[in-house]
């Protein structure tokens, strides 16, 4: 292609530049109503703090250019709205559009967290109803809606545990974490001031209960368990695990990222769990939005309630609701203001749409995972064969023989029109294929996915190079991640980007 012919491909393949490269002085895409008070002189008002020249390098483009730029970028993304997104542990389910609508209503999106509580009863009723629903779903006694995501929920939960032990005279030293856990679990334990002791799973991928008995010493504050585990397997002995911990005064934390397997079927509170977080952006369908925002409410047993982070929702006389900012034993504040309120609105909208019928969603999620497992077992290696719940974890052991690994298969899946499954963990499965279809997939979509996976397995045997060099149909091919990390370019610069592009 010569330099002169700039537009020679379909628009989705077009090389849309950076917005800064389209900028030309004097253009703008948003106009304000005229100023209706005397204009202040910024030089006089601000003195040395006045930025005379405005923000250097800021884009200057028109409205149509903004729309086109971001619309074109959007066409380079895969999304749930386009097809199955079987990213294990992430629960990429349908994000109902009505939830987006209600979160943007005037009277909700417009509300300020510091307006008086008399003028906030609608917001507070939403929080209260969501609290009640989450308590019913988890079987717990109290909940906080403050944490902004799962990882912050984990931290909140561990701080509750720490506060509880401190109140009993000794915060204890260690948190036990299975080797199958998500990376946030150990990262969180350290911030909560605990040492991490990793525990090895037994040969079926479950917690080794006998070994656990020896590991739970008076130094242990808690065990963080994911249930179903990141292998998609229910920890059958969880009530017994809870007893072992409780006998030593330790507590059981449950990472609730996988509640999509349990909602409406069983309740962590009944299983002996003391405290857990929920990922509303997984189980309760709030959109992932390219990485966030989420919400990570923490549900707990009564013994931990006094330590809940502020603010705390309380019901006063005549049903008036209020947020209390001061509690004597609270762990403090984990996030400013009242949680990720807009996310909480969406989650409640989801729960209300289903009502008690949310159980059907769980059943369909588990049905889909087992259907896929049934059709791919034998074609892909299944390292842990206990019954699957909402997700199934294969390994690339069979394809490795032909030099094809899980990442290659994942990339080839893109050519078949699917988003890859999770490849990065659980760490106890080398070369993991972690597949979570969710309830949002029809039988037809599951069948297409199964066909694609079978076909790739075939290709891995007959034409491994095709798989190793995938994807072949995307706008860009595999990207140089090593180079990106070695010489990081993390922002656009007027001159540098041109010379860097040249070398």
């Amino acid at each position: 292609m010569t330099d002169k012919i700039k537009k020679a491909t379909r628009h989705t393949n077009q090389n849309e530049g950076l917005i800064f490269e389209k900028s030309s002085p004097g253009k703008r895409a948003f106009e304000l109503p005229p100023l209706d008070v005397p204009a202040a002189d910024p030089a006089k008002a601000l003195g040395a703090s006045y930025r005379q020249k405005g923000v250097e390098g800021f884009p200057e483009v028109s409205e149509i250019e903004v729309i086109r730029h971001f619309t074109r970028l959007s066409t380079w993304n895969y999304a749930i709205d386009l097809g199955m997104y079987p990213l294990g542990s992430c629960t990429m389910k349908y994000n109902p559009r009505v939830n987006e609508f209600v979160a943007r209503l005037d009277g909700l999106a417009t509300e300020h967290p510091y307006q008086s509580q008399e003028l906030s009863q609608g917001c507070l009723k939403i929080l209260q109803l969501l609290e009640k629903c989450l308590l019913e779903i988890t079987g717990m006694d109290a909940v906080t809606l403050q944490p902004a995501a799962g990882a912050q929920g984990e931290l909140t939960g561990l701080l509750l545990i720490r506060a509880y032990h401190e109140r009993n005279g000794n915060p204890r030293k260690k948190v036990l974490i299975p080797d199958s856990a998500h990376g946030t679990n150990p990262a969180t334990a350290v911030i909560a001031g605990y040492e991490v002791e990793n525990i090895k799973s037994e040969s079926h991928g479950q917690i080794d209960v006998d070994k656990l008995r020896d590991l739970v010493t008076p130094d242990v504050a808690a065990l963080m368990i994911t249930n179903p585990s990141t292998l998609g397997i229910f920890e059958e002995r969880i009530p017994e695990i809870a007893e072992i911990l409780h006998a030593q005064g330790a507590l059981l934390y449950m990472d609730g990222a996988n509640m999509n397997a349990l909602t409406g079927i069983t309740r962590p509170g009944d299983l002996g769990v003391d405290v857990m977080h929920l990922n509303l952006h997984k189980t309760f369908s709030t959109p992932h939005g390219g990485g966030g925002p989420g919400a990570g409410p923490v549900a707990m047993k009564k013994i931990l309630e006094p330590f809940r982070p502020v603010p705390i929702l309380v019901e006063k006389e005549a049903g008036r609701l209020a947020l209390e900012q001061i509690r004597p034993h609270s762990i403090g504040r984990v996030k400013a203001f009242s949680g990720n309120f807009g996310v909480l609105v969406r989650a409640l909208a989801y729960i209300l749409a289903y009502g008690p019928g949310v159980r059907q969603a769980t059943e369909d999620a588990v049905l889909n995972a087992n259907y896929i497992r049934k059709h791919l077992e034998g074609i892909f290696d299944l390292p842990y064969s206990l019954p699957s719940m909402h997700e199934v974890v294969f390994s690339d052991a069979l394809q490795k023989k032909n030099g094809v690994n899980t990442m290659d298969i994942a990339k080839r899946l893109i050519d078949y029109g699917f988003h890859p499954y999770t490849t990065a963990f659980p760490l106890i499965v080398p070369g993991a294929l972690m597949i979570e279809p969710t309830e949002s997939e029809s039988r037809e979509e599951c069948d297409l996915f199964i066909d694609a996976m079978r076909s790739i397995a075939e290709e891995a045997a007959t034409n491994p190079e095709l798989v190793r060099t995938a994807p072949h149909t995307t706008r860009v091919r595999r990207l140089d991640e090593v180079g990106a990390a070695r010489k990081p370019i993390l922002r656009w610069k007027p001159q540098a980007s041109r010379t860097e592009a040249a070398d």
Partner: protein
């Protein structure tokens, strides 16, 4: 149920294909006695129309019809309908963290643009995308300073947002950090003397907000000089990003922790917003959170990937720089679209309107007998006034006149019981400012 794409017959077929007799077979690993025998007691199911009606009814129980003079970390700004139109595109809304770069170039390039915008605004060299909010960004900036200096004492301005200070203390408690607060001076800026006498060679960072919680603008250069002379880092928190359209960037800071709410995110009763950390290139490996970097594909085309992941929890586990995983990506995208819409001129104009309206409001209030400005350093769109009676009483009166009064500083600063933090933005019409001032005057004339 309308969200579920299976007919009863399809479910039966699928069960048969699996070899299960009933759906219960698939839950056999959950001990029978722990399986719920009854349906959950949840409200619903509601049709789409009923869901909308429910939330409209709740919305009607809030502050519709009132004019607000609240800021204090959350600001009412104009938002273009374009922003929501873009971020509601399913390709952005319903995709995950862009780990699979080949099919998430849209998100990745937008993040790269966000990082660039944040650098341009703050005068820093590198910015992440993103933290949960300004409060956790500030906390993470402090933890970053601890890693960079190997020191544990933290000096925090009392004029840092009270909730940010609270969050910092929650995280600090178990991280071995010692947080000390530094007083403010008569003009509302950090008390430089108190700061310098607290500054020793065990201090990791000094944290100041600018414009600070009282609305006044700090001079960062002397703070940086003092901090650096003892080997400490300057962390600057920004709650009102629009101020950067008119204020010199906090380039003196070693780490900037910013709340991006003012860039096109609705107040939404406190969230979701987006926190940002910006800093120097040389500190990037101690930065928390996601970073998109430019690279090339196997055919030499420009593309973007998440990079420097060895800082993050999914690789480093207990040695990670932070436990953050899910962040506020869509909010960062909204900020990117919003700032692109405003552009260089638009952001400057918004900022000038804020300054002009706040100045106008202050003049109106100062005309009222007994009302005086409390701190006289330069301000942007928020300022503090001292009233001749309790702000709570005044606010109760204002509420009867359909006005949401200013932030009551006494709730966070016991010594400032008669002090109000007034915020005026480009969204507040002149007539409402005048109505507010007249109502304050009447409130002060009420018999006690």
């Amino acid at each position: 149920m309308r969200y579920l794409p299976k007919s009863p017959a399809e479910r039966q077929d699928m069960l048969a294909a699996i070899g299960a007799k009933s759906i219960d077979d698939l839950f056999s690993s959950i001990p029978e006695r722990y399986r719920l025998q009854e349906a959950l007691k949840l409200p619903g199911p509601l049709s789409e129309t009923e869901v909308i009606d429910f939330f409209k009814a709740r919305a009607a129980e809030n502050s519709g019809g009132y004019t607000s003079f609240l800021g204090a970390g959350v600001y009412h700004h104009l938002r273009s309908v374009v922003t929501d139109a873009i971020i509601q595109r399913g390709e952005f809304l319903t995709s995950y963290t862009p780990y699979q770069a080949e099919i998430t170039q849209g998100t990745l390039q937008a993040i790269f643009e966000f990082q660039t915008l944040m650098c341009q605004l703050t005068g820093q060299e590198v910015a992440n995308a993103s933290m949960y909010d300004g409060s956790t960004a500030t906390t993470e900036a402090v933890l970053m300073a601890e890693r960079l200096t190997g020191r544990t004492r933290i000096l925090v301005a009392r004029s840092l947002h009270p909730e940010y200070r609270d969050v910092l203390k929650t995280y600090a408690k178990n991280s071995g950090l010692h947080v000390e607060e530094i007083a403010y001076s008569a003009n509302g800026t950090l008390d430089q003397k108190a700061f310098e006498s607290a500054l020793k060679d065990d201090v990791a960072a000094v944290v100041v907000q600018s414009p600070n919680f009282f609305g006044v603008i700090e001079s960062l250069a002397p703070l940086r000089d003092a901090a650096h002379s003892s080997g400490a880092l300057l962390v600057t928190a920004i709650t009102e990003g629009v101020s950067l359209g008119l204020l010199t960037p906090p380039a003196e800071a070693d780490i900037v922790a910013m709340e991006a709410q003012s860039f096109g995110l609705a107040p939404s009763y406190g969230g979701p917003f987006a926190g940002v950390i910006a800093s120097r290139d040389k500190f990037v490996r101690q930065m928390p959170g996601r970073l998109a970097g430019q690279t090339t594909d196997s055919e030499g085309r420009r593309g973007f990937v998440l990079t420097l992941a060895t800082r993050e929890q999914h690789i480093r586990r207990e040695k990670a720089t932070s436990n953050i995983c899910t962040n506020q990506a869509l909010c960062a995208l909204a900020a990117t679209v919003h700032l692109t819409l405003l552009g260089k001129e638009g952001l400057g104009e918004v900022a000038r309107q804020n300054l002009s309206k706040a100045k106008f409001a202050l003049a109106e209030l100062e005309n009222i007998p007994g009302v005086r400005r409390a701190f006289d350093a330069p301000f942007f769109n928020e300022f503090t006034v001292e009233l001749p009676r309790s702000v709570k009483i005044v606010n109760a009166y204002l509420q009867r006149e359909k006005i949401i009064g200013p932030f009551v500083l006494g709730t966070a600063y016991p010594e400032l019981t008669k002090h109000a933090l007034v915020c005026v933005t480009e969204t507040t019409p002149r007539a409402e400012i005048e109505r507010f001032a007249a109502a304050v005057r009447r409130a002060l004339e009420q018999p006690v």
